[in-house]
Amino acid sequence: MISKLPIFGLAAVVARIAVPTLATAAGSLSAAHLLGWLGGLTAFGMTLLAVFQEDMKKLLAYSSVGQVGYVVLAMALMTPLGWTAALYYAVNHFLFKGLLFLAVAGVIYRTGVRTFADVGGLIRRMPASFIAVLIGIIALAGVPPLSGFAGKWLLYEALMDKGWLFLTAFMMFASVIAFLYCFRLIHSIFLGQLKDEHRQVREAPWPLLLAELLMIVPILVLSVRPRVLVEPLQHLVTGVFGVPGVRFASATTMTTSFGYFNAAAMMAMVVVLVVVLLVILVTAGAKPTKVNQLDIVYSGELPPSPEEVQYAWAFYRPYEKAFAPLLKARVTAFWNGVVDVVEGIADAGRRFYTGNAQTYVLYSVLFILVLAAFGLAR
């Protein structure tokens, strides 16, 4: 992915130069710290904007910008752990975002629409794409069993290790906001009510599915053994810093100075729980009857059409309301402000030119007096 290239450029540059430190009255303000907050604010702001997109590709694009914010933040840490986190995050993001873009491209290719409100319920027609997106969003959200969690874990451990406490909490907040657009993405496309015009839609073409599979396999491998990626990256980073940030207590357990995490045990626990509960669900109780798509509790009525029971447009309206002050477009107001200031200055300047010849004489006299004063002082 092209968007990751600058990260490696940034890494190459930052690795070679000393980090400039500004001495201020409040203590030293490191440029790295500034870069960190820049990354953090990017992650937060772009994630928030991604939540309110109505277009699939725009959502993914905003999300990508936000994710690069995390990488920049991790890079700004200037610690071995931070750099390992940044590189792991970049590689992992390449995998799951590539997967998501491919899967969404398949949907757009087959349905011909890009707006969330125009699709829905496609899980019945495109189950393979659905599974691809499901894996992609779980990795993106950083929810435990998949590889995304290791990235988040490394990032937070690195942030805490560095002592940037507020940024840690802020990033936790930002990454939870990412759940909102993850759910939006998968729900509005694949879940809910299948529209009538999409009842004949076919599964995405197989080259696309094959490409998705090529992304899924590394994600699953990384989910069970993040070590296969973390170790080589660590090796690279050690070339710069000299000391490793992550240690490996066992084949699957990673430890840092702050915590520990066993990816394989996590995966095993989730798989066992899901299988056991599925068996319980299938064997216990009455055998469920499958009901039709439109056969829902609708106040004793049959829903007139899928569109009327699909909640897809302006999905997070209350959230938008809550964040309204942050989301207001400010560019126009900024330039209006600039205009006001310039006009004010010009207006103040205009007051000198009264149009009265006597004032101009006064100015001339005052000017000569000032010159004379300077001359006397000399």
Binding site: I123, F166, I186, Y260
Partner: protein, 303 residues
């Protein structure tokens, strides 16, 4: 301890936790009833409801994703419980907490919510995504004070390990984090109100607007698994809070008492407050609770 024995103990622990969760849910119904001047259902009413739901003779389902919601809800609850040590120094009751630290636990809370959201949305009922959109919005909001509190706790002991956080609180009530860092505790306990989804933050299942929220289409055995999952999730969260703020527990009895007290904090608040709207809830959490959380982190920094 061999893995087999550990799993057996964990299984026992999970069953006890589900039973305990159902009992406290029953006690809550009783307490609510008494506050409203009613007699209220028996405290074991939740068990009767669960049995009734399992014994229903027919069930309906939608697509195959429909199975996912109860599985993830229950799996998320059980998994969270398994990652949190219940009683200090008893290996049988520390579950699998050595496989992950506080960060894993924090993210595992979302596992159930996200899975539940995905499954419930597959039912095709409009109330499901509406409820989920509200729930996720609120979840992000309480996450900020919660994260600040967690960061304060972890920075205090310079470790994300729940064991370390418990161990630093030993030696009397004055060492408990709720007293050593009251500001972070305030932030976390207000976030707890949102996490538990009682009034004033019961906007997901808002009974007057979107009948029961996401599980509108769920019935019989699906609903039973969901009820058990909700019970154990509640228990796992209060055990986590007990470990983080009340110094953990040395015996099962102590664990019961402390978790009971923590849970009733949300019940007593819930009994007297009406419901927030979604954006009000979001703004509330981003307001004073966040300030308290920031102050809590500052307290750690200046100490």
């Amino acid at each position: 301890m061999p893995l087999g024995v550990k799993i057996a103990w964990s299984l026992v622990g999970v069953l006890v936790a589900i039973a305990y969760g159902l009992v406290i849910a029953g006690i809550i119904r009783k307490v609510m009833a008494r506050i409203q001047g009613r007699i209220g259902p028996p405290v074991w009413q939740q068990f009767i409801d669960l049995g009734k739901v399992i014994f229903q003779r027919t069930a309906t389902r939608h697509g195959w994703m429909f199975y996912l919601a109860p599985i993830f809800r229950a799996g998320g609850g059980i998994g969270l419980y398994l990652l949190v040590p219940v009683v200090i120094g008893v290996p049988a009751l520390s579950n699998f907490s050595f496989d992950g630290d506080l960060l894993l636990v924090m993210y595992f809370i979302f596992f159930g919510s996200l899975g539940m959201a995905l499954g419930a949305a597959d039912s095709g009922h409009p109330h499901s995504p509406i409820g989920i959109s509200r729930g996720l919005s609120q979840m992000t909001a309480y996450e900020l004070p919660f994260a600040l509190a967690m960061v304060a706790m972890a920075a205090e002991v310079h470790s994300f390990s729940i064991h370390d956080i418990i161990m630093v609180q030993q030696g009397g009530i004055l060492h408990w984090n709720i007293l050593t860092n009251p500001l972070a505790a305030i932030a976390a306990f207000i976030a707890f109100l949102g996490m538990n989804m009682y009034a004033p933050f019961n906007i997901v299942g808002a009974p007057q607007e979107i009948p029961v929220g996401p599980p509108t289409e769920y019935n019989s055995v699906f609903l039973s698994l969901m009820m058990s999952g909700r019970a154990i999730l509640a228990v796992a969260k209060i055990v986590l809070y007990m470990d983080l703020f009340l110094g953990g527990a040395h015996s099962i009895l102590e664990a019961f008492v402390k978790t009971f007290i923590i849970y009733f904090w949300s019940v007593f608040v819930g009994a007297v407050f009406p419901r927030f709207r979604t954006e009000q809830a979001v703004r509330f959490f981003l307001g004073w609770p966040t300030v308290a959380g920031i102050a809590g982190v500052l307290l750690v920094l200046i100490r």
